[in-house]
C-alpha cells in the first residue's frame, strides 16, 4: 500500500517534470471580456518547448489580447495560463518580473522608446536585472544583439531616424538581449513591404534555431506563417477554431478556414 502510494507520487512528480520541460506555454479555457465585448471564449493552446506556433485571426479577433494575457499585461477572468510551469495569474509582481526575464515580447508597434538612442533602448531591459554588470559587458551584449539583426551601425541613432523595417529589427534585438526562452511576436511583419517581411520572417527562424526559443507568432501574413510556424492555430470567435500544420489547414474544406487562404 505504502510503496504503491510512493510510486504514484513519484510518477506524479515525474509527470509534472515532464510537463514542465515539454510545455513552454499552456493555455486552458481562457475567457476574457471588456465590458460586454467578449473577446476570448474558452481558448486553448499548447506550445511545446522549442516549438513555434502561429496564431492567425481577423483584425480585432483578440490576438494581441491573447498574448498580453500570456505575459500578464492583461488580467483575465477565467482559465489558466502556465508559462514555463508557472501559473501566470497566481504570481505576484516580483515573481512576474522574474518570469519576464525569460519571456520576451515583440510589440505590434515596436514600442521603441522615442526619447532614447538605439543603444539606450537595448540597455533598458538590462539595467533592471543585471545591476552589477560592467559597462563593457553591457556594451558587448548590446552589440551582439544588434549584430544578430544586422544593425550594429545604428547603435547611436534615434528610433525616429530608422525605417520601419529597421525599427522592427531593433525591437527584435531588444527582445533578444535577455536571451529569452520564449518569444511572443505580435504581428512581426505587419506594415512592412513583402521583401522586408520575408527577411524578418527568416530572421525569426534563424533566432529560433540559434537560441532554441519557443514562440507564439501572431500574424495575418500567410507567407510569414508559412516560413516561421511549426503549427498554426486559428482564432475565430474567441476559440481555437482549428489547429494543424500550415499545409494541412490549407487543404481544409471548411469555409472559415478557406477564407484565410485566399
Amino acid at each position: 500500500m505504502e510503496s504503491d502510494k510512493k510510486t504514484t507520487l513519484s510518477e506524479l512528480v515525474n509527470e509534472n517534470n515532464v510537463q514542465r520541460n515539454d510545455l513552454a506555454i499552456s493555455i486552458k479555457h481562457l475567457h476574457k471580456s471588456f465590458g460586454n465585448n467578449q473577446v476570448l471564449k474558452d481558448f486553448n493552446l499548447e506550445v511545446k518547448s522549442g516549438e513555434s506556433v502561429a496564431v492567425i485571426g481577423k483584425s480585432g479577433s483578440g490576438k494581441s489580447v491573447l498574448i498580453k494575457c500570456v505575459i500578464g499585461l492583461i488580467k483575465f477572468e477565467q482559465g489558466q495560463i502556465h508559462v514555463l510551469g508557472k501559473n501566470v495569474s497566481k504570481l505576484n509582481s516580483m515573481e512576474l518580473d522574474v518570469l519576464r526575464i525569460k519571456v520576451a515580447f515583440l510589440f505590434q508597434s515596436n514600442a521603441l522608446y522615442d526619447s532614447m538612442t538605439v543603444r539606450e533602448n537595448l540597455e533598458f531591459p538590462l539595467r533592471r536585472h543585471l545591476t552589477e554588470t560592467k559597462k563593457e559587458e553591457v556594451d558587448a551584449l548590446v552589440i551582439e544583439a544588434l549584430t544578430n539583426v544586422g544593425l550594429a551601425h545604428t547603435i547611436d541613432m534615434m528610433p525616429s531616424e530608422l525605417s520601419g523595417g529597421m525599427r522592427k529589427r531593433v525591437a527584435l534585438a531588444r527582445t533578444l538581449i535577455m536571451k529569452p526562452e520564449i518569444i511572443l511576436y505580435d504581428e512581426p511583419t505587419t506594415g512592412l513591404d513583402p521583401i522586408t517581411a520575408k527577411e524578418i520572417s527568416h530572421l525569426i527562424v534563424e533566432i529560433q534555431k540559434k537560441y532554441n526559443t519557443s514562440s507564439i507568432i501572431i500574424s495575418h501574413d500567410l507567407s510569414c506563417v508559412k516560413i516561421t510556424a511549426d503549427k498554426v492555430v486559428m482564432l475565430i470567435n474567441g476559440k481555437n477554431y482549428a489547429e494543424g500544420k500550415f499545409e494541412e489547414l490549407s487543404k481544409s474544406d471548411d469555409d472559415k478556414i478557406k477564407n484565410f487562404y485566399i
Binding site: K68, L73, D97, R100, S109, D114, R128, H129
Partner: protein
C-alpha cells in the same frame, strides 16, 4: 438614478485621487530613479524658465502702471511699491507661473505619456521589468512639485523688478527706496503661505498631466484630446487650490 455626467465626474475624480495617492505609495519604495528625476527637474525648470521670466516681468510692469492712477487719486502714490509687491508675491506671480506650467509642462507630459501609451512603450517597460508608474509618473510629479515653487520664487523676483521699472516710468523711486519699501511690506506671512501653496500647484499639474497621458484612449486622436483636457483641468485645479489656500490663510490669520 444619478445623471451620467455626474457619475463620470466623480468616477474620474476618484481615479485621479487614487493616481495621486499612488505617487506617494510607490514613490517611497526603492528603487529610486534619481537620474530620471533630475532629468525631469531640469526639463520642467528649463522648459518654462524663459516664458515664466517674461510673463512675470510684464505682469510686474503692467500691474504697477495700472495701479498708479488709482493711488494718485487718493494722494497715496508713495504706497505704490507696497501695494504692488503684496499683490505680486501673494497672488499674481504664483498663479501666473502655475498656469504657464500647466499649459507648457502639463500638456507636454500628457502628450508624451499618451504617445508612449498608444505605441505600447508603457507596456514594453512593464515587460522589461521596470515599473512604468515609478519610472514615468513618480519622476515627473516629483519634478513639477519641486520645480514650480522654484519657478515661482524666480517669478517673484523678476516681477518685483518689473514693478520697479513701472514705478520709474512716471515717477522717480530710487532702487534703494523701492526695495526698502518692498522688504518692509512683505512679511513671512505673505511669502511663506504663497510659496507653500505652489507645491500643491506643482503636484496637481504633474498628477493631472500624467494621469491624462497614462490613461489615453487608444489612437493618436486620443493623445491630443488628453493633452487638451490636462491643460483645462489642471488650470481649473490651480484656481481651486488657490481658493482653498486663501481660505486657510484667512482662517489661520497668517497675514
Amino acid at each position: 438614478m444619478v445623471p451620467k455626467v455626474v457619475y463620470e465626474f466623480f468616477d474620474e475624480l476618484g481615479m485621479i485621487s487614487y493616481f495621486g495617492w499612488r505617487f506617494f505609495k510607490e514613490g517611497i519604495k526603492p528603487r529610486y530613479e534619481f537620474r530620471e528625476m533630475i532629468r525631469q527637474c531640469y526639463y520642467v525648470g528649463y522648459k518654462s524658465l524663459g516664458l515664466v521670466a517674461l510673463t512675470a516681468f510684464i505682469m510686474g510692469l503692467v500691474i504697477t502702471i495700472q495701479s498708479r492712477p488709482t493711488l494718485v487719486e487718493f494722494g497715496a502714490e508713495d504706497w505704490l511699491p507696497k501695494m504692488v509687491s503684496v499683490s505680486l508675491v501673494r497672488e499674481i506671480a504664483p498663479v501666473i507661473t502655475a498656469l504657464i506650467c500647466a499649459g507648457k509642462v502639463g500638456s507636454g507630459m500628457s502628450a508624451e505619456l499618451g504617445a508612449m501609451k498608444v505605441t505600447e512603450q508603457i507596456d514594453a517597460m512593464d515587460v522589461s521589468g521596470t515599473n512604468p508608474f515609478k519610472y514615468l509618473v513618480v519622476t515627473r510629479v516629483f519634478a513639477t512639485t519641486f520645480m514650480v515653487p522654484l519657478l515661482v520664487i524666480l517669478a517673484d523676483a523678476i516681477s518685483l523688478y518689473g514693478g520697479y521699472l513701472g514705478c520709474n516710468i512716471r515717477g522717480v523711486v530710487s532702487w534703494q527706496l523701492y526695495w526698502n519699501q518692498v522688504y518692509e511690506t512683505l512679511s513671512y506671512g505673505d511669502v511663506l503661505p504663497s510659496i507653500i501653496k505652489t507645491f500643491f500647484f506643482g503636484y496637481a499639474i504633474g498628477v493631472i498631466g500624467c494621469f491624462k497621458g497614462y490613461y489615453t484612449d487608444k489612437g493618436t486622436e486620443g493623445v491630443g484630446k488628453s493633452a487638451n483636457a490636462a491643460v483645462v483641468l489642471s488650470s481649473v485645479m490651480v484656481f481651486i487650490i488657490d481658493l482653498i489656500a486663501v481660505q486657510i490663510i484667512d482662517i489661520l490669520n497668517l497675514t
